[in-house]
């Protein structure tokens, strides 16, 4: 029945190690980058754990020990981890840890074991969202087509984050650079195709101009 197997460009794909293959919600949009005039890339599946802790407090300290970086206290920001991941502020006692170097079933228990005794919590949400990278000269225009947050680099430079709406999808928007040309968008997996379709549509003029 599954003979028409979709392309698996952005996903990890079938593993050679005998592990179960993974699929990515945007496997079916292999031309997303082209269709968005080069602006949007679907990132590979990434380990993500939602962390809850009182800050300051022992659970936050415990999280910092595991992650190697303090949980950012400032609303609407993210910080890099030594492992090359990110810790994104989601709420006054809530963060999202993104870690491309480990697996969910490694990271969640480690964080949970460290945090739970101190009143915190950790939940694997790796499959809850997918990550889109938005870059280049069109990035801000595409965002402006559906996002009410001011993304001007003077107010939304590298290190800023916003949970907001892009079109009709909830997103977490991360600024990765100070020049307004590099962002990441986290969107719930069930909305990923909608958002991809919307981005492709929003890029219509840019696509035509490039053609």
């Amino acid at each position: 029945m599954a003979d028409a197997a979709p392309s698996t460009t952005p996903s990890t794909g079938p593993s050679s190690s005998g592990l179960l293959p993974r699929t990515h919600p945007l496997d079916v949009r292999p031309d997303l980058t082209e269709q968005t005039a080069g602006a949007v890339v679907a990132k590979p599946l990434t380990t993500a754990v939602q962390v809850r802790a009182e800050l300051p407090g022992p659970a936050a300290d415990a999280a910092a020990r595991v992650l190697g970086v303090a949980l950012p206290a400032r609303p609407g920001t993210w910080v890099a981890t030594p492992a090359g991941g990110r810790v994104v502020w989601l709420g006054p006692d809530e963060w999202l840890v993104l870690d491309p170097t480990t697996t969910p079933w490694d990271l969640e228990p480690r964080l949970r074991e460290a945090l739970a005794p101190a009143g915190g919590a950790a939940v694997d949400v790796s499959a809850q969202r997918v990550v889109l990278e938005l870059s280049g000269p069109l990035a801000r225009d595409l965002l402006a087509a559906g996002c009410a947050v001011d993304t001007h680099p003077s107010v939304f430079p590298a290190g800023r984050a916003a949970q907001t709406l892009l079109a009709q999808a909830g997103v977490v928007l991360l600024a990765l650079s100070d020049d307004g040309r590099h962002y990441e968008l986290l969107v719930r997996s069930s909305f990923a195709r909608y958002l991809a379709d919307w981005l492709v549509d929003a890029a219509t003029e840019h696509r035509a101009r490039r053609a």
């Binding site: 029945m1 599954a2 028409a4 979709p6 990890t12 593993s15 190690s17 005998g18 592990l19 179960l20 293959p21 993974r22 699929t23 919600p25 079916v28 599946l45 939602q50 809850r52 006692d93 969910p104 079933w105 949970r112 739970a116 009143g119 915190g120 919590a121 939940v123 694997d124 949400v125 790796s126 499959a127 809850q128 969202r129 225009d141 402006a144 087509a145 559906g146 996002c147 009410a148 001011d150 001007h152 079109a167 009709q168 999808a169 719930r188 997996s189 069930s190 909305f191 195709r193 909608y194 958002l195 379709d197 919307w198 549509d201 929003a202 219509t204 003029e205 696509r207 035509a208």
Partner: protein, 953 residues
């Protein structure tokens, strides 16, 4: 066709770019840069249409959006109703005609694109006239983020219609340099052809940019036709100028009658003479400029009729020098002509003979109304200024300032100064360092003589029935008089009685005049009357423009599960459940819904079926008080659930009515997984957060949505154990009853992927729910399908799921309940804890109405004929003694909530909410179905395997 009224040179039109268009069936040539009005006037065509009620000819009355009369229907390139000739730019292939008052919609959809952009600025400047340009320049040089938005095709505003000098050179050169500077400034967005149509709270303004309308058929399809700009400005400067005000007199609607300033615009901007012989009626100095400039351009100006007894000396001299007669203390009391003015009827204001002065153009100026619409929309208060004879802003608002003619400024120098000053004030407030822009020099203006305030010129015979106040509505002074005579005093009542101000122009020229006329008739000033409310939009905006990209499949997000493509390939027929697409059933070739569902049901009851249940809401609940929170929100006890076990639960609102249900897995001592209905997922998480955050913040508990994290597949049927064992046995799972009991769960790992298996049954069959990270959903599903092949594993959809659960009497919240149903009504008293002192909703169960014996209760219904599938929604009734339906209103016992044909029972059955239903078990009631009374037997809701032997198998 030559254009006899086009001047030899001058104007902003591109004389080397002719365009051909058709109006009213006649082909014309215009120039790029023309509006439909200017192009028609260039050909001497004044009449555009006829009026809505009286069929009187109507022409071009103004040069822009304030024109009340030049309504047209665009037919090509796409039907566009109710446009103004004065704002429609001409292009090759434009086909239009006048309309008396009703536009025509295309009979097909519009395939043009519409989109929107958000824009954040420090300063929004509305209007690119002198005040607006100076404001924008000031802000740009200060490094502010600026938007300069103007509705015309090029900047300049009123300067487009004058010969003014700025800094000693033509004003438009100054504007051009300013525009170039703004274009080079990195933080400036300069939008022309863009109308700010509404100003809202917190610096929010909406504008519509007409991006391709002027290109006609040459517009690129991929470019949005119109774009809505959602502008969030920290400060706004409204520099929208002023609209000239007409004077009402008899037959003032005859084509050839035009606002004086508009004739200047047609001359200077479009190079068009609006007539050959003009009479000018004025109450103020401004119209003298029109008289003088038109005369200089070759129009014979027969007379300037000034209502004031003393005419301004400067202008009297200017007129004298050109041989223009000035009649002081006089007015135009009427016009003659048929479809065009042939004479202005002039008389002294204190009576005397009427002199019919031949003319083909009658210019009128009754003064100027500042365009205060946006200020007023922002809830600024207006006051009548008697010296100007106009309603003016009473000041600034917190984040909105008014500058230039919109604030009542009369002279160019004042406009420039106010624009710069307003901008600087705003920037200082924002903490920006202002780089002042010198106010450019302007020639000294002649001394101003006070304007006269004239709303109407009395008809010589006292007949007010042809004195038009609102040309679009054919509403006259007589109508206002009737309204007042009927007892009406409020301008809002007069507006409704006469319909003045309700037409397409929303009273841009008639509104203030109406207030003046009412005041005059009742005694008192216009301030006592006030104006009617200015409401957005300033000018009409197309529905599709506002719809933007939220159309078609983007109208509302489509949510998909990880298995979506598998379902597509399997030929699923979809059901919209909230925003989700769920497979409703999977028809084989030739199957309809009924046969497919019977097949799917049979598979689940006799073999094995598999459902994508991933849309079910899932909430991770962690923390030492997790059980306590659940105890307070579920009707039953959750804290007593052992790790490794599963419990069904129901949540109620404070009113005691069921709001959601689902299973709860205790994952660890301090961790639960709460499953909700598909539609209830967001609602339940919000509900739990609300209680936790606002009522019980002291509880140590953390909630997280994991709906997409976990895909969930019920594997259902007597052979489900075989499938589970086959797939997960190698991982160490023993699916035998003794090792894996009903309502328990176990974790395992399948080729590196963690999997949770839970023995949960929403079908009454032996069943497992397979929970797996959505990363592995497809792989695990395919493994299950592969392993199930020997047992004929059958994917089934929501329809079969509904049948299976209904046969077991399991309600679906939202289908078998409607917000008025308690757990007890559902026969679920067992799920309501008697041990807990309280939980949300408990107190409501004790209310009088909840204790009624005749509450509607969930029961089963079996049609006695064993063939009728009762339509869901059918009502249940008791028959009269006669065995017939009593006459309306017929008392109703309840209604059918779910109804299906059962493969297992080999008969149709239904669930219903029926008054006192449980006590009616075994009784016959009736259900009217398409005019027939179907006898049904009331039963308990559980029709299949009431003992649960299958489920527990």
């Amino acid at each position: 066709m030559s254009a006899p009224f086009r001047t030899a040179s001058g104007g902003r039109v591109e004389r080397s770019v002719p365009v051909s268009f058709t109006f009213g069936g006649t082909s014309y040539e215009g120039l790029r840069g023309d509006t439909l009005a200017s192009a028609l006037l260039a050909h001497g065509v004044h009449q555009v249409t006829t009026s809505i009620k009286l069929g009187r000819p109507r022409g071009v009355g103004a040069a822009w959006a304030e024109d009340p009369s030049s309504l047209v229907q665009v037919e090509e390139p796409f039907p566009d109703p109710m446009q103004l000739a004065t704002t429609t730019e001409v292009f090759d292939g434009l086909v239009a005609h006048g309309v008396p008052g009703q536009g025509r919609l295309a009979d097909i959809g519009d395939s043009a694109r519409y989109d929107s952009r958000h824009l954040h600025v420090d300063l929004l400047v509305v209007g690119a006239g002198p005040a607006g340009v100076q404001a924008a320049l000031t802000a740009a040089r200060s490094g502010a983020r600026v938007a300069l938005v103007d509705e015309q095709s090029e900047p300049g505003g009123s300067l487009l219609g004058t010969t003014d000098l700025v800094d000693g050179r033509p004003a438009l050169e100054w504007v051009g340099d300013a525009a170039a500077e703004l274009a080079a400034a990195p933080e400036v967005v300069h939008l022309q052809r863009t109308t700010v149509f509404g100003v809202y709270d917190d610096g929010f303004a909406l504008a519509v940019e007409r991006r391709t309308d002027h290109l006609g058929g040459a517009a690129p399809r991929e470019v949005s036709r119109q774009r809505v700009w959602r502008i969030r400005a920290r400060r706004t400067v409204v520099a929208t100028g002023a609209h000239e005000r007409p004077v009402v007199f008899t037959d003032n609607d005859r084509p050839g009658t035009m606002l004086a300033g508009s004739a200047r615009t047609f001359l200077h901007r479009y190079g068009v003479l609006a007539g050959t012989r003009a009479v000018v009626l004025t109450t103020n100095d401004s119209a003298y400029r029109a008289a003088v400039e038109l005369a200089d351009a070759g129009v014979e100006v027969a007379a300037v009729v000034d209502t004031r007894p003393q005419v301004p000396a400067h202008w009297a001299a200017e007129c004298a020098g050109r041989g223009i007669e000035v009649r002081s203390g006089s007015a135009v009391v009427g016009t003659r002509g048929t479809d065009r003015v042939t004479h202005a009827r002039v008389a002294a204001r204190d009576g005397g003979a009427v002199d019919d002065v031949a003319c083909d153009l009658l210019l009128v100026s009754g003064g100027w109304n500042p365009a205060v619409h946006l200020y007023s929309q922002a809830r600024g208060k207006l006051a009548f200024d008697t010296s100007l004879g106009a309603f003016l802003p009473t000041g600034r608002l917190d984040d909105l300032l008014v500058a230039g003619a919109a604030a009542g400024a009369q002279e160019l120098a004042t406009c420039l100064r106010q624009g710069g000053a307003a901008s600087a004030t705003a920037l200082v407030e924002l903490g920006l360092d202002v780089v002042p822009v010198p106010v450019p020099s302007t020639p000294a203006a002649p001394p101003v003589t006070a304007p006269d305030l004239v709303w109407t010129v009395p008809d010589v015979d006292g007949d007010t029935s042809r004195q038009f106040v609102d040309l679009q509505r054919d509403a006259t002074v007589a109508d206002v008089q009737r309204a007042l005579g009927a007892g009406l005093r409020s301008p809002e009542h007069v507006k409704r009685y006469t319909t003045i101000g309700t037409a397409h122009d929303q009273g841009k020229t008639s509104g203030v005049v109406t207030s003046g006329i009412i005041a005059e008739l009742l005694g008192g000033g216009p301030d006592d009357v006030g104006t009617t409310t200015f409401r957005p939009p300033y000018t009409p905006v197309a529905f599709a423009t506002l719809a933007g990209r939220d159309r078609g499949q983007l109208f509302d997000p489509v949510r998909t599960t990880a298995l979506h493509d598998w379902h597509v390939r399997a030929g699923a027929v979809w059901e919209d459940v909230g925003q989700w697409k769920r497979p409703r059933y999977y028809p084989l070739a030739g199957e309809d819904v009924e046969t497919a569902v019977l097949r799917e049901c049979a598979a689940a009851r006799t073999g094995v079926g598999i459902l994508d249940g991933s849309t079910l809401g899932k909430i991770d609940v962690q923390g030492p008080d997790a059980g306590e929170l659940l105890d307070r929100l579920y009707t039953n006890l959750m804290s007593s659930l052992a790790v490794g076990k599963v419990r069904y639960g129901v949540m109620c609102g404070a009113d005691g009515m069921v709001i959601d249900d689902g299973t709860v897995l205790r994952v660890a001592e301090d961790r639960f997984l709460v499953m909700t209905t598909t539609g209830g997922a967001a609602k339940v998480l919000d509900w739990m957060e609300e209680w936790h955050q606002t009522e019980w913040p002291e509880l140590g508990v953390h909630l997280a949505s994991v709906t997409e994290q976990w895909s969930a597949f019920p594997v259902v049927g007597p052979r489900s154990r075989d499938v589970i064992q086959a797939v997960f046995g190698p991982s160490g799972v023993d699916a035998a009853n003794e090792a894996f009991g009903f309502m328990t769960w176990q974790d395992t790992v399948l080729d590196g992927a963690p999997v949770r298996l839970a023995r949960i049954s929403f079908s009454g069959e032996l069943a497992w729910e397979v929970h797996v990270s959505s990363w592995h959903a497809v792989a695990v599903w395919e493994r299950l399908v592969e392993a199930g092949r020997p047992y004929g594993i059958t994917p089934y959809g929501t329809e079969t799921m509904h049948v299976l659960r209904a046969e077991k009497g399991y309600p679906i919240i939202g289908q078998d309940t409607d917000g008025t149903v308690t757990p007890q009504d559902l026969g679920m008293a067992w799920v309501v804890s008697k041990k807990k002192p309280d939980f949300v909703g408990k107190r409501s169960f004790a209310r009088a109405d909840n204790l009624r014996e005749d509450r509607k209760q969930l029961v089963g219904l079996l049609p006695v004929d064993r063939t009728t599938v009762l339509p869901e929604g059918s009502q249940v009734v008791e028959l009269a003694e006669s065995g017939e339906l009593p006459p309306p209103p017929v008392p109703m016992l309840g209604h059918v909530t779910s109804s299906y044909r059962s493969a297992h029972l080999e008969r149709p059955f239904a669930l219903a909410l029926v008054k006192g239903g449980r006590a009616r078990a075994g009784q016959l009631v009736h259900v009217p179905v398409k005019g027939r009374l179907v006898a049904v037997e009331v039963t308990g809701p559980v029709l299949v395997d009431p003992e649960g032997a299958r489920r527990d198998g």
